[in-house]
């Protein structure tokens, strides 16, 4: 069943899955894992949006 995701939707999916996996790989306590998931997810979004804007002048 093929699906089609926008750039941002693909980014959201990738960010949440990788944040979850790395939280379980690197943290042991549930509270630490939860904080890490939130932090890593937000950092994925922040860095991606920042890089997108940084490359904006090059797109013209």
């Amino acid at each position: 069943m093929p699906i089609n995701l926008s750039h941002f939707q693909a980014l959201l999916l990738f960010a949440i899955v990788i944040a979850l996996a790395f939280a379980f790989l690197t943290k042991r306590r549930p509270a630490e894992r939860f904080r890490y998931i939130i932090w890593a997810f937000l950092m994925f979004l922040l860095v991606a949006v920042a890089l997108g804007w940084a490359m904006y002048p090059l797109s013209r």
Partner: protein, 139 residues
Amino acid sequence: MEESAAIPAEQPTPTGKNPAVATAVTIAGWLVPGLGHLLLGKWGRALAYFLAVGTLAIAGVALRGNIFSPVGGDAFDRLGFLADLGAGVFYLIARAVADGTADVSRAAGDYGTRFFATAGVLNLLCTLDAREIARGRKS
């Protein structure tokens, strides 16, 4: 003095665990994401890794990403194959289900290729984690 000078017959490994168990856990973890941790009784981690690897692999196929085959292609294709192979049983299923359906002319298809490769590499990382736990080097 004699006692301290004596060489112990065999130093115990840091873990004292059976290397065969670690090998079995490694193979199981590679074949089915999370199974290595499940065999070690780490239910939460097993579920998390299975969901993470499975989600990326299924998304990769659904986005019509390229699933690399073991034959042909250039060095990048072979690297892609090695990454994809890391997904274990998901790779075998993807090859059977999605053979020839790849469409990387769209951005989504290209994302699918990356998603599946990430699933494979992530599973290898999880497998190493399970192996280190089995060897007692990690809690």
